[in-house]
């Protein structure tokens, strides 16, 4: 029953207004990996990625603005968490 999920494909059907150059979530440099792994597991958008070589890759562009990472790791490894500026970010057509 286990097919590996491709979240990027799912995000692809959503409507986003990306605020180029103004990321609304910024990770601290060299984040604690135990904390980071929580976000790898929890982020519904799969934005916190672990590469095969163990390096990390994060991009706030497909963010669903759900707040999970703020509640899980707000103090530990997030440099900044805020909502995107007005009009930007996810736009749910159905919700």
């Amino acid at each position: 029953m286990s097919e590996v999920v491709n979240v990027d494909v799912k995000l692809g059907v959503n409507k986003f207004h990306v605020d180029e150059g103004h990321p609304h979530i910024i990770l601290k440099d060299n984040p604690d990996m135990n904390e980071y792994r929580k976000l790898v597991n929890a982020c519904p958008a799969g934005l916190y990625k672990l590469e095969d070589d163990g390096s990390i890759r994060f991009d706030s562009a497909g963010c669903l603005e759900c707040g999970t990472c703020k509640f899980l790791c707000g103090e530990t490894i997030l440099e900044k968490w805020e909502y995107p500026r007005g009009t930007f970010g996810i736009e749910y057509r159905y919700g």
Partner: protein
């Protein structure tokens, strides 16, 4: 500083915000709603079901004109393991009064309609503006700063949702520990109306609300859900954040596996994903309710932690609506006395205490702790599946009395655990 001063500025055009605006404007108050998205509902999502009672009292007969999807007449609860499912299936064919009914809905349409109702009675509404800061003077809230502009108001109603950035900024909301929160992920899957009705055994405008405990959340606190809409199904999972670090599956993977479960897959076969959404869900009940009112400010809806997960029902929207109404009434009372201090707005607290909101939150105050019990999501689904399998398997070996079969499977969980959880479960609901 702007010259204009509103009776209330409402931050957020979700259900609490829209309802507060409607109730205030209807009584002639000057009210402005500020929404950071491009339209009301553009940042909002729901699992999918509204219990009608609280909105019915404010806009009687709303379901006749509002963009609801289906009226829920079928309730299902399933204990799911990776390869089994045991379901309780209830069809409600009895007549219900309007306040007893519940509907599946999608927030994009619904919130826009509700905001439209508020605008019809005179509420002002601006979109695409993010409130960055609440303005205070001598400890009293006097307005908001949004996109660099300062707007003053006699009161501010925070209806900013489950992640109350501004409530935290004011120190009214203490950041709850992540173990009080869950995350939900949902797919909206488009299917022809006829197919939905056939697969879920529904008549024309009937809908199904279906909750799943067990394997959808990979054995963590949480579960799965399916709500049928007109020509789509809302399918998702909710997973407690408590132990997420030790999960061997990601949340998106849990959702994918749930979709591919042999029991679920045929229901959505051929469907097309049209939206993928995610949101934090407040799970701590009354334990996370913040300071609700202060000088010039009130907190409503999800931002106030007004959410009830009772296992077989999940409620938030009816609480948001009722709290938006209560906040509006409190502002109207303050306006009458021209006293927008915490004291002047204190009827908010009283209205909430007297309403189902605080009463229900208090009634279920032990439930969040009970729900952390991993047996509910691991051992009990397996136990009922094992019992069913024993009952329904005929292989020619001599049959055992059912009592013995039951006892054998109960023993695996442990009689003491069963008794303990039974008592705790019953006393917490």
């Amino acid at each position: 500083m702007s010259e204009e001063s509103f009776d209330a500025i409402i931050v957020g055009a979700g259900l609490a915000g829209c309802v507060a605006a409607y109730v205030l404007a209807k009584e002639g108050a000057d009210v402005l709603v500020i929404e950071r998205g491009n339209y009301a509902g553009s940042k909002n999502m729901t699992g999918g079901r509204l219990y009608a009672h609280s909105l019915e009292k404010i806009i009687p007969g709303f379901a006749k004109e509002a963009p609801i999807e289906r009226k829920v007449t079928k309730e299902k609860v399933t204990f799911l393991t990776d390869d089994t499912g045991v379901t309780l299936d209830y069809h409600n064919g009895r007549d219900q009064t309007a306040v007893e009914e519940s509907y599946t809905l999608l927030r994009g349409d619904f919130d826009q309609w509700l905001m439209g109702k508020a605008e019809e009675v005179g509420a002002q509404f601006i979109t695409g503006i993010r409130v960055e800061e609440i303005l205070t003077q001598d400890g009293k809230v006097i307005g908001v700063k949004a996109d660099g502009d300062e707007l003053t108001a006699k009161s501010v109603i925070l209806a900013e949702g489950v992640n109350p950035v501004l409530g935290e900024q004011l120190g009214m909301v203490k950041r709850v520990k992540s173990d009080a929160m869950a995350v939900g992920a949902k797919e909206l899957i488009e299917l022809p109306q006829k197919v939905i009705q056939d697969r879920f055994n529904l008549n024309d405008d009937e809908g199904c609300a279906w909750l799943f405990a067990g394997s959808p959340a990979n054995g963590l606190m949480g579960g799965g859900f399916i709500y049928t809409n007109k020509s789509s199904v809302s399918l998702g999972i909710v997973c407690g954040l408590h132990d997420i670090g030790s999960s061997d599956k990601t949340v998106p993977q849990m959702l994918e596996d749930f979709k591919n479960h042999a029991m679920i897959k045929p229901l959505i076969e051929g469907g097309k994903l049209i939206e993928y959404s995610g949101h934090v869900v407040p799970e701590a009940g009354i334990h996370m309710v913040p300071k609700l009112v202060d000088d010039g400010v009130l907190i409503t809806g999800d931002a106030a932690g007004f959410c009830l997960n009772i296992g077989y029902t999940v409620r938030g929207m009816d609480l948001a609506i009722a709290s938006g109404e209560a906040a509006a009434k409190a502002v109207l009372a303050a306006r009458e006395k021209n006293d927008f201090s915490a004291q002047g707005l204190s009827s908010y607290q009283t209205l909430l205490e007297d309403s189902f909101i605080m009463k229900d939150l208090k009634l279920y105050k032990e439930l969040p702790k009970f729900m952390e019990n991993p047996r509910i999501f691991n051992e009990y689904p397996k136990m009922v599946a094992d019992i069913m399998q024993s009952m329904f398997t005929v292989d020619g070996t001599p049959s055992q009395p059912i009592r013995k079969t039951l006892m054998k499977h109960c023993k695996e969980v442990g009689y003491m655990n069963l008794i303990k959880d039974g008592i705790k479960g019953v006393t917490s609901i």
